[in-house]
Every structure is written in structure tokens, then in C-alpha cells.
């Protein structure tokens, strides 16, 4: 084997790539992990919460060493109109103890740590190296990758593309569906705002390493999307996720939408006095199950965002855990295929089977219609106002008038918002099927 020939080359040292490399290195295979940034995680951003339980299989007691900022003990879902907000607030002591639930972490820390684990297990990592295309034999089978370095071809029995959303490699291999277009993606933008730790603790009602996670709907004006606020030790992440097609049509700037969110009376007291340290943006594959491409080709697997596996279903924005899991299963399936010396698409079928047997495709299949529902006009533009008005009237004390009946309020506010019974029933049914 020459020094540029490996069992497997993994493209992209994000969560998916590092887990794939880690699982293969543990199985004793020669693995090269190629990352375009100067170090793993250097080019990566997200909202801020990871759910790393899937790492139990690869890194026992990962919580003892993972570079975690805070453990999420408080989860809030907020429905917002320009002047109102309704919050459901849940807090749990259990989430503050091993094995924990969600955690906030900076990606340049988390991804760097995880890639280090892959290296420690025997994978080779090279950074500042961009993969520019696939190497294929006369039958179209992938036999390696080309990089932007001099003499930069790497041959391998198998390539795993973990190069993130809008994967050029998956596209080049013709694995993406034809109907995937701008409507399948959202743009996520985030400000990282510095505040003293004790100020964050006080404002978000947390202590020590406890953290809060707030998901918001109805905060993005005419551009359909959602918002979030996450706490780190001495910064908070405030961001929005915006439907690309609407953003273009409305000719609005994403930073204006964040500015509006920060100025909202329910958010302003949380961010007041903070200093913006960073502004970042990234695409999100938002269409869920309906955009998932063919997952294997001859000599090629795709995992993580490259395979559209991010789960964006309103109250859940989970991509990292889906990337960790799909990367790990891709690594496991690749190890099986190498063992049986069949890295054709058929020999790699075990990958999809693993995803189907586990939460990765089970959750996606179940929540298949939720992304469309959540980003639809009714849930974005009409329901938040209706819900806020209902709650406002329920809690308003309008003496000497007596309290109105809740059924009457519901009927009046539905009519006032212009929502037809038929649509409400349909949306409720979709939500029940997905979340139920």
C-alpha cells in the first residue's frame, strides 16, 4: 500500500466524519480524514446544543472529557408575535447529572476534540486540504478523491463523504434527488454575544454548569423560520433559521431579522449589555425525509448533513446527533464491507439498514411532514397570533365583564385569524401523526 492509499478516506472532520473515522480506526482499518479548515471544527457553526448520547457506543463516559459549556437543564418553547410571547418552560434536575441530555458546546472545541479521538484511535487527519472531486474508474466506481494539494490524489477502497450540507461529492456522484432545490434548505444565522457568567445565570435562571435552551416560533416576521437562544458559560447564542426562498422573495437581510428578535420585549432583557463577538451563517438541509438522497454508491457512502440527515422539526433542531450516528453507522457498514471485500453499493447496503433500524431514519420517517408544517405560512404567520390572542384573553381580567368561556375565545380567535376549520384539522392531524 502506498502512502497515499488507504482502506477508507473520509471527507470532512465534522461530527459525521470524525465518528466514521473513529469507528473504522477502532476496527483496525487505515483511514485518512481530510478537512479543509486549518483544524477540525474551524469552519463549523450551529445553534449550540448537542445531544451526544449516541457517543456512548464509541467513547464511554464521553461527558467526563467532552468540551461542554453547559448542560441543558431548562428547555423553553416560545411562541411570539411582535408584541406578545407565550413560553412553555421545562426544567429538570435529571438533566444536570450523567448521562445528561443536551449540552451546549462550541463547535471549534467539540469537533476538534472528536477528531482528536479519531486520531488517537489510529486515523490520520490532514487539515487545510480541500477535496475537489472524486476519482473514479472506467465503470464509474469511486476509487478515491482528488485534493487541492500538489500530487493530491488519494486512492482508497471506499470514500465516505461527510462534507456537510449541499455536498459537492454526493452531487458529483449523482446521489442527490432531482427535486432538491432552494426550498429544501434554510439559512441559519447566529450572533455569539458575550455576557458575564453570573449575568447569564441570573437572566436565564440557571446555576453553575446548568444551561438554558429556548426555541422560538413566530419571531422571523414575513420570512418563515424560527429562532433560538442558547447559553454558554460566558456567551449566549442568538440566532434565526430562515426559509431561503422566502428570504429572497422578501428581500430581507438576515442580520436585520436577528436585530428585530433581539429588540423584542421578551428577548431584549436577556441580551442587554452584551457584546457581539461573532456573526456566522450556514445552510441547513431542512426538508428532512423527503430530501434524503441515495445513501450509497459503488465505493461511496454519504453521512450527516451531506445526506440531508439534519432533523429540523420545529421544537427540535437536531443535526449533530444525527451526524454522529450516521457517521458511526457508515463506519460500521464500511468495516463490514471491507471485511467481505465488497464495497459496491450492494455490499454497502448495511448502512441504510442500520439507519432504518435506529432513530436516524425512524425519527425522520415519523416526522416526515413536520418540516413542511412548521415552515408553512399558517404555522408561521397565523397560528402564533391566534395562540397569543387566546392566551391574552384567557388571562385578561376585564371586570366588570365576566370571564368568557374558553370555547368561545377559541372560536372567535380562529375566525379573527382567518383560519379555516378544515386547515386547522389538517394541521392538527399532521402534527399528531408526527409528534404523537
Amino acid at each position: 500500500m502506498s502512502e497515499t492509499d488507504f482502506d477508507v478516506v473520509v471527507v470532512g472532520a465534522g461530527p459525521a466524519g470524525s465518528c466514521a473515522a473513529l469507528s473504522l480506526a477502532k476496527a483496525g482499518h487505515s483511514v485518512l480524514l481530510v478537512e479543509r479548515g486549518p483544524f477540525a471544527g474551524s469552519k463549523n457553526m450551529y445553534g449550540g446544543v448537542v445531544y451526544p448520547r449516541i457517543l456512548d457506543a464509541l467513547i464511554p463516559n464521553w461527558w467526563e472529557e467532552a468540551p461542554i459549556q453547559r448542560w441543558v437543564t431548562r428547555r423553553q418553547t416560545m411562541v411570539m408575535t411582535p408584541t406578545q410571547s407565550l413560553t412553555i418552560d421545562y426544567r429538570s434536575d435529571t438533566w444536570a447529572k450523567p448521562p445528561y441530555n443536551g449540552a451546549t458546546a462550541y463547535r471549534p472545541d467539540f469537533d476538534f476534540w472528536l477528531a482528536g479521538k479519531a486520531e488517537a484511535a489510529g486515523a490520520q487527519l490532514i487539515c487545510s486540504t480541500t477535496v475537489t472531486g472524486l476519482l473514479r474508474d472506467g465503470h464509474g466506481r469511486t476509487i478515491g478523491v482528488r485534493t487541492d494539494r500538489p500530487d493530491g490524489d488519494i486512492t482508497a477502497r471506499l470514500v465516505i463523504a461527510c462534507d456537510g450540507v449541499n455536498s459537492f461529492l454526493a452531487k458529483e456522484a449523482g446521489l442527490y434527488r432531482r427535486d432538491v432545490d432552494a426550498n429544501s434548505f434554510t439559512l441559519g444565522v447566529k450572533e455569539t454575544i458575550a455576557l458575564p457568567t453570573d449575568v447569564i445565570n441570573e437572566r436565564f435562571g440557571v446555576r453553575g454548569r446548568e444551561g438554558a435552551d429556548i426555541e422560538i416560533i413566530g419571531c422571523t416576521g414575513d420570512v418563515n423560520g424560527g429562532g433560538f437562544i442558547y447559553t454558554n458559560l460566558d456567551t449566549i447564542g442568538v440566532g434565526v433559521v430562515l426559509k431561503l426562498s422566502k428570504l429572497g422573495a422578501q428581500r430581507q437581510r438576515p442580520e436585520e431579522i436577528i436585530a428585530n428578535l433581539k429588540a423584542h420585549p421578551s428577548v431584549a432583557p436577556l441580551v442587554e449589555g452584551g457584546e457581539v463577538k461573532e456573526y456566522s451563517a450556514h445552510l441547513i438541509p431542512e426538508a428532512g425525509y423527503d430530501m434524503i438522497p441515495t445513501l450509497a454508491g459503488d465505493g461511496l457512502l454519504i453521512a450527516g448533513d451531506a445526506a440531508g440527515l439534519c432533523l429540523a422539526a420545529g421544537i427540535w433542531l437536531e443535526g449533530v446527533n444525527f451526524a454522529l450516528a450516521s457517521g458511526m453507522y457508515a463506519g460500521d457498514a464500511a468495516a463490514d464491507a471491507l471485511r467481505s471485500d465488497d464495497t459496491s453499493a450492494a455490499g454497502l447496503a448495511g448502512y441504510r439498514q442500520r439507519l432504518e433500524r435506529t432513530f436516524v431514519l425512524k425519527d425522520h420517517a415519523k416526522l416526515r411532514h413536520i418540516p413542511h408544517l412548521v415552515l408553512g405560512d399558517r404555522l408561521q404567520q397565523e397560528y402564533p397570533q391566534m395562540v397569543a390572542n387566546i392566551v391574552e384573553r384567557m388571562f385578561r381580567v376585564d371586570n366588570p365583564r365576566p370571564k368568557p368561556g374558553i370555547r368561545r375565545i377559541l372560536t372567535q380567535e380562529r375566525r379573527h385569524a382567518g383560519i379555516r376549520w378544515r386547515d386547522l384539522a389538517k394541521d392538527t392531524w399532521t402534527a399528531m401523526r408526527g409528534f404523537g
Binding site: E3, L32, T129, T147, R149, P150, D151, D153
Partner: protein
């Protein structure tokens, strides 16, 4: 006009007995941590290896060393002084084509004179009977004073051409160095077969390492050297501060024309009346320069360095 700078045949020219080792080009790289250092559990302040690197000048120096090595068919040795994180700079250099890597174990915050002494002792430990050229960057990522190459030349008794803005390698025997002088002037120095050169970052862009170079660099051996040399005899800085020219009190210019007053105040249109051409040996020349600067008001007689003390 090209002047020839030659080795002073030196008191400390590297000679390690009769053992003849092939000539080597040496380049010195300073790895600088940019991120905040985190104290680890042992209380050691480990610099974050993600945020740090070498200056554009150090990278240009490496490029010139590699070109020189190719032109002269000589091996290129890279020396980095610093903690373990400095190995990153060495591996990057190996990926680009350097042959031998040496790390001098040290803190990066020591005086230039100690850096030069440590490098000199490292060169002796290499067993190199003859170092042909030493190429350094003109500044490090933390700016520095650019004085290490001059100390190296003095300690090794080699000729020097510092602050290069251009280099002509020709066949690698006679290396021509274009230096920037004050007042937009240039000086061209020819180094015959050996010398210490420091280069500005703009002189060359470091080649992109090949893929096999990067892969091979990961397993490349890094030799370690712990400096032993004592350098008690060299004058040391006792205080370090940012240089600020002394303020001079001027009488307010008179006259009705604001522009003329401005000219008078800034001397913008006046030719300098200072300047003289003298031929003196180096010690006398240094003495004369300090005297002249003091008379012209650029040096404060009290806080400035004494005319006969070695200056840094």
C-alpha cells in the same frame, strides 16, 4: 553597487573537530501562540495549538532556505525554539520539504540574545561542521525585534545581510541580497558561499506542501535539544518598553499664512540639514552615530544609552 559581506573568520565559527558533515542550510522558525493559554490540570499553561503559527517572514525564510537547498544541493534543517506546540511549525516545514527538524526546548518569551545562543548551541549539537546559510524571518508573529539573526551572525562569526526585500540566488554560490535602507534607498550585498540572511515576508510565498509531504511529515522525527550555552558576557536589556521618540518643544511659528506656518512647524518642505559622510571603523562609527543623534536632539542625553555601551 554590490558590496561583498564576508565572514569575520570567527571566534565562534562552527567547528566540531575533524568530523566533516555535509553543508546545511538552516532556517529558524518561531512558533507563536495567539490564543489565550489554558492552564491544564497540572497547572502548566498549555498554549492552544489551534491558534498560533509562524509569521509570513518566517514562512518566506523557509521558502528561501528550500530554494537555496535545491540550488546548492544541500540539506535544509529547520530549528524552532519553543514549547511542544512549536513542533507544529517543524512538521509544516517538513511537509514543505525540509530535511531535518530540531526543536530547542524553551519558552518563547526569552531575549533575542538567548534565542541566538540557544540556536548556536543547537547547531553545534547537530554536528554540522559547516553551516552554509542561515535564513530567518525579519519578524515573528508577535513582531519581535528582528535582532536574532544579527546575534546569530555575531556568535557564529558569519557574514550577514538582514532585512532582505529581494534575493537573487543565481547558482547558490554567490547570493545577492537587496536590503531596504532609510530614505527609500536600497543596498545590494553579495554573500559568498555562506552567511546569515533575514527576509521580509513579501520576498516569497511558501510553497504549498504536497499531499505525500503532509502525510510523511506526521511521522518525521523531531530531534530535541536543550540549550547549555552560557552567554554571560553579552549586555542585556534591563527594562523593556515601547520606543517613543522624545517630544521636542518648538516655538509656535509666526506669520499670517496658515500653510506657511504648517510647513514651518512640520519642516515638510525643508531639506534635512543633518548628515555627513565619514569613513570610520565600526566602533568609532557607532560612537559617532550616537554623538550625532544626541547633538541633533534625537537621543535624550540622560535616558539614552551611553555612547560606548553595547546597545540592543
Amino acid at each position: 553597487m554590490a558590496a561583498t559581506a564576508s565572514s569575520s573568520g570567527g571566534h565562534e565559527r562552527l567547528r566540531t573537530g575533524a568530523r566533516a558533515v555535509r553543508a546545511v542550510i538552516v532556517t529558524c522558525q518561531k512558533w507563536v501562540a495567539l490564543g489565550a493559554a489554558d492552564a491544564d490540570s497540572a497547572g502548566h499553561n498549555a498554549a492552544d495549538q489551534r491558534f498560533g503559527g509562524t509569521s509570513a517572514a518566517d514562512q518566506a525564510a523557509l521558502e528561501w532556505a528550500l530554494r537555496l537547498g535545491a540550488a546548492r544541493s544541500e540539506a535544509v534543517t529547520v530549528i524552532a525554539l519553543g514549547p511542544d506546540e512549536a513542533s507544529k511549525a517543524l512538521r509544516d516545514a517538513a511537509a514543505a520539504g525540509a530535511d531535518r527538524l530540531l526543536r530547542v526546548d524553551s519558552s518563547t518569551s526569552i531575549d533575542s540574545v538567548d534565542v541566538a545562543a540557544a540556536i548556536t548551541s543547537a547547531l553545534q549539537s547537530l554536528g554540522a561542521a559547516d553551516v552554509s546559510f542561515i535564513v530567518c524571518g525579519d519578524y515573528s508573529l508577535d513582531r519581535g525585534s528582528g535582532s536574532v539573526p544579527a546575534f546569530l551572525a555575531a556568535m557564529l562569526g558569519m557574514a550577514m545581510a538582514l532585512g532582505a526585500v529581494g534575493i537573487d540566488l543565481a547558482d547558490g554560490t554567490d547570493v545577492e541580497v537587496l536590503r531596504r535602507l532609510d530614505g527609500g534607498r536600497r543596498e545590494r550585498l553579495r554573500l559568498h558561499d555562506s552567511g546569515v540572511i533575514s527576509v521580509e515576508g513579501s520576498t516569497a510565498t511558501l510553497r504549498r506542501a504536497s499531499l505525500s509531504g503532509v502525510l510523511a511529515s506526521k511521522a518525521k522525527q523531531i530531534e530535541m535539544h536543550t540549550p547549555t550555552r552560557s552567554i554571560d558576557h553579552v549586555a542585556r536589556a534591563t527594562t523593556m518598553s515601547t520606543y517613543r521618540p522624545r517630544a521636542r518643544q518648538l516655538a509656535p511659528p509666526v506669520g499670517g499664512n496658515p500653510l506657511a506656518r504648517l510647513h514651518a512647524l512640520t519642516s515638510a518642505t525643508h531639506r534635512s540639514t543633518h548628515g555627513e559622510t565619514v569613513v570610520l571603523d565600526p566602533q568609532m562609527a557607532a560612537r559617532r552615530i550616537v554623538e550625532a543623534l544626541t547633538v541633533w536632539g534625537y537621543l535624550d542625553g540622560e535616558s539614552g544609552p551611553a555612547a560606548d555601551a553595547p546597545t540592543r
